[in-house]
C-alpha cells in the first residue's frame, strides 16, 4: 500500500498544527460555533447527540496492521474501546472529547493517517472496491489512481468550500463493487481498443434525499486527464451549483436542472482550457505511485490444498464460513477473506479495540500485514493462503469475527442512526439487531441466500437504503419513529433505486415485515433466483399484498 514520503508526512503534520490552533481559537472564544463548524467538519469532527464524532480517513479502504493497532490504541485511550466502520470505508469514533481531537490527529499522523476532508463541503475520501488488486475480474487496479486523486484533492484550493459534499468512487473491475453510479463522480477504468488505460466517467449520482443514478458524461477519457477533467466538472459545479438550499446543493441537482447534454457541454468548454495543464498526470508519477501497489510476493502454490479440503469436509461450520466469507483470488492457492463485523445482535460495523488488535495480528501473520475496509462495513484480509484459512477462521471465530453471513440478509449495511447521529430521524441499529435476531438461524439464512438489506436512519442515506434489495428508511412522523420499506434496489453495473412498498411501520413491526417479504420470495422464486431477481421478475405487488394483507385496511 502507499507509504508516505517527506512531502506527504509534512502535509499531515502541518494539518495537525493548523487544526490544533483552530481548536485553541475556538476554545478561547476567538471562533464562534458557526465559524468553527466548517473547519472542524473538514477534519471529520461532528458534534453529535452525546459527544463529538470523529471520522478518520481510510483512503480507498486500505489499512496496514500497524495502522489498525494504532486505531485500537486510540479508541481505547480516547474513546470507549471501540470504533465503527462506515459505509464510506472510514472509521468513526463515537465518544472522543473535542479537546482531545488535536492529540488524536497527532497520534494518527505517526502512522500516516489523518481525518482530512472526511466531512464538510469538499472532496471526500475516495472509495473503491475492497478487492482491488486481487479480484479475478479486475481489469485495472484503481488504487494508484485513487492515491493520485487523494493527493490532488487534499486541500485543493479552488474546491475547498463547495456547495455541498463531493464523493468520488473509482473502479477497475468488470463487476462494479464501488457503486460508481451512486457518486458525484464515478470513474470506471478499462482498457480501450488500443490497449491503453481509459476511464468512463459518470457524474451526478447520489443517494440522499433525492436518489439518482449517475449519467455518463464521457465514455472515454485517457487516464492522464483524470485530474483536469474532474477540475472542469467541479469548477462548473462550484460556480453554478445551488447554495441557497442544502437539500438541492449536490451536483446531481445541477446535472438534472441543466440536463446531462448541457452540463456536458459546459464541462467540455471548461476542459478545453484545463486539458494538458500541469495537473495532467505523468507516466513517471503513475509509475511512482503504482510501485506501492505491486502484487504481493506470492508463493507459487497449487490451486488445491489437501488440508483445506479435509477441513471443509470435516467441519460444516468452517465449510459454511468458506462458502460465504472466502472469495476468489487472482493468485493460485490464495483467497481473500471477509471478517464479518455483523455478528447477530450487535451494531453493524462496530469493532472493539481488542478485535482490532486481533485483526491486525491476523493481517501480519497471514496477509502481508495489510487489510481493507469495505463499504459493506466489514474487514478484508486480501491475501490468505488456502492452507492458512482454517487457522484464520479459528482465531476469527474465537473473537466474534467469523459470522458466516457475508452477502446474506444479516450482513446489514447500517448507519449509526438516532442512537448517535444528530441528523437521524430514527434509530437504525436496534432495527438491524432485531432483524438479525429474527433470522438467527444459519441454515435458514443460507437458504434465503444472497440478499442485501440496508438501513438508514434518515434520508441522507448513509446506510445506502435506496440500493438495498430491501431498504429501510427511518422517518419521523409527528415526533415518533417510523420505517419506510423499499424493495428492488441494487448496487453494481445494473444498479437500481428501490420502490417504496407502502405506508411505513413501527420499529416492533419491522422484523415481521422482513419475514413477510422473505415468505413471498421463498414461495415465488425459481431455482436460480436471488431475492432481487424475483423482485425484478414479479414486481412489487405480490410483496406488498403479503406485507399489508392483515392490517391492510387500517395501515
Amino acid at each position: 500500500m502507499y507509504k508516505y514520503d517527506e512531502i506527504d508526512q509534512q502535509i499531515v503534520d502541518e494539518r495537525v498544527a493548523q487544526y490544533r490552533d483552530q481548536t485553541r481559537r475556538f476554545l478561547a472564544g476567538e471562533l464562534t460555533d458557526d465559524e468553527f463548524r466548517p473547519l472542524r467538519l473538514q477534519n471529520g469532527l461532528y458534534i453529535q447527540r452525546h459527544a463529538p464524532m470523529l471520522r478518520i480517513a481510510v483512503p480507498y479502504g486500505m489499512l496496514s496492521a500497524r495502522q489498525l493497532h494504532k486505531l485500537a490504541d486510540i479508541s481505547a485511550k480516547y474513546d470507549r474501546g471501540y470504533g465503527h466502520f462506515s459505509t464510506r470505508q472510514n472509521l468513526q469514533l463515537n465518544w472522543p472529547k473535542l479537546e482531545d481531537t488535536p492529540e488524536i490527529l497527532a497520534d494518527l499522523a505517526t502512522v500516516q493517517m489523518h481525518a482530512i476532508q472526511t466531512s464538510g463541503n469538499c472532496i471526500r475520501n475516495i472509495t473503491t472496491d475492497q478487492f482491488a488488486g486481487v479480484a479475478p475480474d479486475e481489469v485495472i487496479d484503481p488504487r494508484a489512481m485513487a492515491e493520485i486523486m487523494r493527493q490532488w484533492s487534499t486541500f485543493h484550493p479552488e474546491f475547498a468550500l463547495l456547495p455541498r459534499k463531493f464523493k468520488i468512487a473509482v473502479s477497475g473491475t468488470k463487476d462494479d463493487r464501488a457503486i460508481v453510479q451512486a457518486h458525484d463522480i464515478g470513474m470506471e477504468f478499462y482498457t480501450d481498443a488500443s490497449g491503453k488505460i481509459a476511464i468512463k466517467v459518470w457524474v451526478g449520482g447520489g443517494l440522499g434525499r433525492t436518489p439518482i443514478l449517475g449519467s455518463v458524461i464521457r465514455e472515454h477519457l485517457e487516464w492522464q486527464h483524470a485530474l483536469t477533467y474532474c477540475e472542469a466538472i467541479i469548477r462548473v459545479y462550484n460556480l453554478h451549483g445551488r447554495r441557497d438550499n442544502a437539500y438541492k446543493a449536490r451536483i446531481k441537482i445541477l446535472v438534472k436542472a441543466l440536463g446531462i447534454e448541457e452540463f456536458r457541454k459546459q464541462v467540455e468548454a471548461e476542459w478545453v482550457h484545463l486539458k494538458d495543464s500541469p495537473n495532467t498526470i505523468t507516466g513517471t508519477e503513475l509509475a511512482r505511485v503504482a510501485k506501492h501497489f505491486e502484487p504481493m510476493p506470492y508463493e507459487t502454490l497449487p490451486a488445491h490444498d489437501a488440508s483445506f479440503d479435509a477441513a471443509v469436509s470435516s467441519s460444516p461450520a468452517f465449510a459454511a464460513w468458506v462458502k460465504r466469507n472466502v472469495h476468489a483470488h487472482k493468485a493460485s492457492g490464495y483467497r481473500a477473506v471477509t471478517l464479518s463485523l455483523k455478528p447477530h445482535g450487535k451494531a453493524p460495523g462496530d469493532i472493539t479495540s481488542e478485535q482490532m488488535h486481533v485483526v491486525a495480528d491476523l493481517a501480519t501473520q497471514y496477509s502481508f500485514g495489510e487489510l481493507r475496509a469495505s463499504h459493506e462495513q466489514n474487514l478484508i484480509l486480501a491475501d490468505v493462503k488456502l492452507s492458512d484459512l482454517f487457522a484464520v477462521w479459528e482465531k476469527a471465530r474465537a473473537n466474534g469475527l467469523a459470522t458466516p453471513n457475508i452477502g446474506l440478509l444479516t450482513d446489514i449495511i447500517c448507519c449509526p442512526g438516532g442512537d448517535f447521529c444528530s441528523l437521524a430521524n430514527a434509530k437504525s441499529i436496534p432495527i438491524a439487531k432485531a432483524i438479525q435476531m429474527q433470522f438467527d438461524n444459519l441454515d435458514y439464512l443460507h437458504d434465503i441466500g444472497d440478499l442485501e438489506l440496508n438501513i438508514s436512519g434518515c434520508m441522507n442515506a448513509c446506510g445506502h437504503h435506496h440500493i438495498g434489495h430491501i431498504g429501510i428508511l427511518g422517518v419521523d412522523k409527528d415526533g415518533s419513529e417510523w420505517y419506510q420499506v423499499t424493495i428492488g434496489g441494487k448496487q453494481g453495473n445494473d444498479a437500481s433505486i428501490g420502490t417504496v412498498i407502502g405506508p411505513s411501520f413501527s420499529a416492533e413491526e419491522m422484523p415481521g415485515v422482513v419475514e413477510k417479504l422473505i415468505e413471498v420470495y421463498l414461495k415465488e422464486r425459481t431455482d436460480e433466483e436471488r431475492f432481487i431477481d424475483t423482485v425484478r421478475r414479479i414486481g412489487v405487488a405480490p410483496f406488498k399484498a403479503n406485507v399489508y394483507a392483515k392490517e391492510g385496511a387500517d395501515a
Partner: protein, 205 residues
C-alpha cells in the same frame, strides 16, 4: 488600524488602504444570491441588482475608487476618463458573472484592482473566480478578497490568485497573516504555483 493584508513577492504585510470602496444602496428587492448562477441568470434572467440601485449609487468625485460591477457597466461613460488614468477598480460579488466584466472591458489589465466580495465564509465560488481571472483572463494587477474573510480562507485565496485580503473588521489581520503559510508543499498545482508536487519535487524515493 487597517485590516488589509497585501502580498508582495510572497511577503505579507498589513498595509494602509488607499482605495475607497463604493457600495450599492440597499435594495428593497429580495435577492437570492446563493442560488446557482445558471439557475438565476441563464434560466430565469433574474437580476440581483436593480436599475434603481445602480442609478442611485453615489460615486465619489475624486480619488481611487472600486465600483460595483453593475455600476461599472451601466455608468461606464461617467467613469471612462478615470478608468484611463487608473483611478477605477471593479468589485463583484460571488454570484455575479465574470463574463459580463470581460465583455464590457477590453483590457482588464487597465483596472489596477479587481475585488471580489464574499458574503459568507462558506461560499467557495470566490476561489473559482480568482482562478478564472488569473488563468483564463490574464489579470495581472491586485486581486482582493473582502467581506466575510477570515484567516482560515487565506491559504486557499492565495493559492487561487488573490494578492490582498481585507480581514473581517472584528478580527486581527496581523494574526491572520500566519495562516497564509499553513502548508509548505501543497500537492496540486494552482494559480500561485501551477506545478503539482510531482512536477516540483523528485518523489521517486
Amino acid at each position: 488600524m487597517s485590516n488589509l493584508i497585501t502580498l508582495k513577492n510572497d511577503v505579507a504585510n498589513v498595509s494602509q488602504d488607499d482605495w475607497t470602496l463604493v457600495k450599492l444602496p440597499p435594495s428593497q428587492v429580495e435577492v437570492r444570491k446563493q442560488a446557482g448562477k445558471v439557475v438565476l441568470f441563464s434560466l430565469t434572467g433574474e437580476k440581483t441588482v436593480t436599475d434603481e440601485q445602480v442609478a442611485n449609487t453615489a460615486i465619489p468625485v475624486a480619488g481611487k475608487i472600486i465600483v460595483p460591477l453593475s455600476v461599472f457597466i451601466t455608468r461606464h461613460s461617467e467613469l471612462a476618463n478615470r478608468v484611463a488614468v487608473g483611478e477605477v477598480g471593479v468589485w463583484l460579488a460571488t454570484h455575479e458573472l465574470l463574463e459580463s466584466l470581460i465583455e464590457n472591458q477590453n483590457d482588464i489589465n487597465e483596472l489596477p484592482i479587481i475585488a471580489v466580495f464574499v458574503e459568507r465564509f462558506a461560499d467557495g465560488r470566490i476561489f473559482s473566480l480568482g482562478n478564472l481571472l488569473r488563468t483564463r483572463y490574464g489579470f495581472k494587477n491586485e486581486l482582493r478578497a473582502f467581506g466575510d474573510v477570515l484567516r482560515d480562507q487565506l491559504f486557499f485565496l492565495k493559492r487561487s490568485g488573490f494578492s490582498s485580503f481585507v480581514v473581517r473588521a472584528d478580527r486581527s489581520a496581523q494574526d491572520a497573516i500566519a495562516s497564509l503559510n499553513d502548508f509548505s508543499k501543497p500537492y496540486q498545482g494552482a494559480v500561485d504555483e501551477p506545478r503539482p508536487a510531482f512536477q516540483r519535487y523528485n518523489r521517486s524515493a
